[in-house]
């Protein structure tokens, strides 16, 4: 995947994969709301929870994971992480700078999630089958380390079980 690929440029691909346009646009909104410079896996996961027409959202809701719970787990994850170093999150105005890139590009964790989503997806074996939002969810959930697994552990969500359900979604 190109290093500078942006959500906007990727949108048609995501739609072809079966991921609603509303969700791909939402990746960027979530990242911006978080004050992030790039879209990371946690922003995609947040976006997938609010995609009402998506199978991924359905699976997450069944597991008790909605936008509010994920957002609050991410907040706690950040608090805990910074507390480890004896710090609190700085006030927004202290670190407010002019935004450089619009549209945003994808960060390392997001690109890794896309790569994992493609590996083993039906799409890889049969191009006629679109890559589904549940494959992307699987790709996001298969990260063993990082912000997403940390936040899910805090929220008490069984990440591995949900990943398996996402991959096996028919």
């Amino acid at each position: 995947m190109n290093r500078l690929v942006t959500a906007q440029r990727l949108a048609p691909v995501l739609i072809a994969w079966g991921i609603p346009a509303s969700a791909s646009h939402q990746f960027e909104i979530e990242a911006k709301q978080d004050g992030a410079k790039v879209i990371e896996a946690e922003h995609m996961l947040l976006a997938l929870t609010t995609s009402s027409d998506g199978d991924a959202a359905k699976l997450m809701h069944e597991a008790g994971l909605d936008h509010e719970r994920m957002a609050s787990a991410l907040k706690e994850e950040r608090r805990r992480t910074l507390a480890f170093a004896g710090m609190k999150a700085p006030e927004k105005k202290l670190v407010a700078a002019t935004e450089l890139e619009s549209p945003l590009s994808f960060g390392t964790s997001a690109k890794a999630a896309f790569k994992r989503a493609l590996i083993g997806a039906r799409h890889e074996r049969h191009r006629a089958h679109p890559l589904r939002s549940t494959d992307l969810l699987g790709g996001i959930l298969e990260a063993e380390m990082g912000t997403v697994p940390r936040a899910l552990a805090i929220a008490g969500i069984d990440r591995v079980a949900l990943a398996i359900r996402a991959r096996g979604f028919k």
């Binding site: 805990r80 670190v95 700078a97 063993e144 552990a153």
Partner: protein
């Protein structure tokens, strides 16, 4: 197969903290370089304060400062 280590606790907390602090340091640098340049600092002064070369600051921040429409001093381009 060995069990995967927990994404919480132990080294996971420390590594996450290192990554988060790096991101905060970057955000703080962006904000403060912008503030300094708005206040009329030169590239050299900013570079010296950060402990890096003038070229490094220029490369990293010029585009954003132009976007922010900060009136850079002529010699700032030198």
């Amino acid at each position: 197969m060995p069990t995967a280590p927990s994404p919480l606790d132990g080294p996971a907390d420390g590594l996450a903290a290192a990554s988060a602090l790096r991101a905060i340091a970057d955000e703080l640098e962006d904000a403060e370089v912008e503030r300094a340049m708005r206040a009329g600092w030169s590239w050299s002064q900013v570079a010296e304060a950060l402990g890096v070369t003038r070229q490094a600051v220029h490369k990293k921040h010029l585009r954003r400062l132009l976007l922010a429409q900060i009136a850079l001093r002529r010699r700032n381009y030198e």
